[in-house]
């Protein structure tokens, strides 16, 4: 069976990135998943077992002192050697900041092409076909690579399900540290608050707040509704620019794209740039005091009203029903 390489990211603290599940699931639909992992110390048995559970049939463990101190280059070196070793039909990385830089450099180095921000993959008589959701979901586009190795960056949270579990066979290699033309990592600064809420990209329900919240103090209303619904928190760019919430919560053209079962927009006017990040949600609810707000054009259920009176009542009603 044809090999499919996946670049599995490991945090500087050693944890396997959440993107691993989707990458291995996508790889399993195309062939035999090989997990390529770069680390400073040989992989622990637990990590190998975990990658097997997620579907990795083989683990290519590249050990190098440069992991954690040189940006992206060790991953490109490891992938390029794994391409020689496994002759894969495709290479998959997360569409993360590290993943897409590794994909881009690899494609140039080995003579392939990048298919970017892929939301679904399929094999058509051995040809790897990538599906993309373009212009905020306005178009679905399929693409292939002609004449070289397909290198796909997979949108995080887009691939559902899991690959069949396997017992991973490990191939450990040592990589020489590359220092030429390197970007050096001096320090990692972890995000302070590790939220107990679901992750924005993969949450089934997202509650987002906009400029209509009026202040960062008032943004707590978004948090309260999110917690009542077990939802992730999002925001419009206006709310981020106003400093109500961190940029990592931004949903839209230049932020995260989400496709949850339920998206609730509070005090968000719904500029086209915001809709580009959420209009593929299954159900959209909008509450806004401006009845002409464009968000209502895409809302399945809209309330023209004051979020500060409607939302607390909604929280009460939801809590009453769940009791």
């Amino acid at each position: 069976m044809t090999n499919i390489l996946t670049l599995i990211e490991v945090s500087h603290r050693g944890g396997i990135a959440a993107s691993a599940r989707g990458l291995l699931a996508a790889a399993a639909t195309l062939g035999s998943p090989v997990a390529v992992v770069v680390s400073a110390a040989p992989l622990a048995d637990d990590d190998v077992a975990r990658l097997g559970e997620l579907g990795a049939v083989k683990v290519y463990s590249a050990v190098t002192a440069a992991a954690g101190s040189v940006l992206v280059a060790p991953a490109v070196d490891a992938l390029s050697r794994a391409v020689d070793a496994y002759r894969p039909a495709a290479v998959l990385t997360a569409n993360s900041v590290d993943g897409r830089e590794a994909a881009a450099r690899l494609a140039v180095r080995v003579g392939g092409s990048v298919l970017a921000d892929v939301v679904r993959v399929r094999s058509d008589n051995g040809t790897v076909v990538a599906q993309h959701s373009v212009f905020g979901g306005a178009y679905t586009v399929e693409s292939v690579v002609e004449g070289g190795l397909p290198v796909l960056t997979i949108r995080q949270g887009a691939i559902e399900g899991e690959a069949p579990a396997a017992t991973a066979e490990v191939d450990t290699v040592s990589l020489e540290a590359t220092t030429d033309a390197a970007t050096v990592i001096d320090q990692f600064n972890d995000d302070v608050a590790v939220s107990v809420r679901p992750e924005l990209r993969t949450a089934a329900t997202v509650v987002s707040g906009g400029r209509g919240l009026g202040s960062s103090e008032n943004f707590v209303l978004v948090e309260q509704l999110a917690d009542a619904l077990g939802a992730a928190i999002g925001a419009s760019r206006a709310a981020v620019d106003a400093g109500y919430i961190a940029q990592t919560a931004q949903v839209g053209q230049t932020g995260v794209s989400v496709s949850p079962q339920l998206y609730i927009a509070l005090g968000i006017s719904g500029a086209i740039q915001h809709r580009a990040g959420m209009q593929t949600a299954k159900t959209i609810v909008a509450i806004n005091k401006d009845e002409d707000a464009p968000i209502f054009e895409v809302a399945d259920f809209g309330i023209v009203g004051d979020i500060f009176t409607v939302v607390p009542k909604l929280i009460e009603a939801v809590k009453a029903r769940s009791n």
Partner: protein, 255 residues
């Protein structure tokens, strides 16, 4: 110091953007074309260095059809010293690999100490061209920065990673990409608009650059437009809207 800023003309995100169903490529006729906002922030980054160090030379470079020259004029009116326009009919529909190979050749012929680009364009959103260019030129890339200090002896920056930020650095020459966290761009002033007309813009073709066709390429095989969303119920809150919404959520098994 010579800084080249990569500029891309894109459809305005404030309008509905279209793909040509026959080719799967961007329909350039249907929307206004503008300089991508992230490129304006990239240019602002270079211009701020020029503000404090008059010896700095800022070059705006673009690849695109004839009308992409407008984006260079905008950059010149904001304060760039000169422009480079890579234009060639054979580049129509170029994929990221072809684009990066061509821009890398243009950068090699233009010369630079630092290349500044946006982290991703608003139309393609692939975010891979700067890294491909860095690979072609065998240079370090400092990608997805939220801040940067560019000095004669190197670049230091803070990169937005997945679970936090990273402090990164590299020597020159280097490629760096900026995110929306960088300051907004200045507006061109009247003097800038007037002097822009006298600033040089060099045009380069594929033959000028001697870029070989890339053997591998990505090809669009199908394009389907998503049906527009229809608006659903819209209530004016009279005091009961919250409980009606709660019922709607329950009826649809959303809570």
């Amino acid at each position: 110091m010579k800084i080249v800023v990569l500029v891309k003309q894109v459809p305005d995100t404030a309008e509905e953007r279209k793909l040509d169903p026959a080719t799967g490529q961007l329909d350039r006729e249907s929307t206004d074309l503008v300089v991508d906002e992230i490129n304006e922030r990239a240019l602002e980054t270079a211009l701020r260095i020029k503000d404090t160090n008059k010896g700095t030379e800022v070059v705006a470079m673009t690849m695109g059809p004839d009308q992409a020259t407008q984006s260079l004029r905008k950059a010149l009116s904001m304060g760039a010293d000169s422009g480079v326009h890579v234009v060639d009919d054979s580049l129509s529909g170029a994929d990221t690999g072809r684009t990066a190979a061509t821009l890398a050749a243009a950068l090699r012929s233009t010369g630079f100490d630092v290349v500044v680009a946006g982290n991703e364009s608003t139309d393609g959103r692939a975010g891979v061209v700067p890294a491909m260019i860095a690979e072609h030129l065998q240079l370090p890339l400092l990608g997805s920065l939220i801040s940067a200090e560019i000095a004669d002896d190197g670049v230091r920056g803070v990169r937005q990673g997945e679970g936090g930020t990273l402090n990164v650095r590299a020597g020159l020459p280097a490629v760096l990409t900026v995110t929306e966290r960088f300051p907004e761009a200045r507006f061109p002033n009247f003097k800038g608009i007037l002097t822009a007309k006298r600033k040089p813009v060099i045009t380069l073709s594929v033959a000028d650059l001697g870029v070989a066709a890339t053997p591998s390429r990505s090809v669009v095989i199908s394009t389907a437009e998503r049906p527009p969303r229809a608006a659903g119920r819209k209530l004016i809150d009279d005091g009961d809207a919250a409980s009606e919404l709660a019922e709607f959520l329950v009826a649809n098994r959303l809570v």
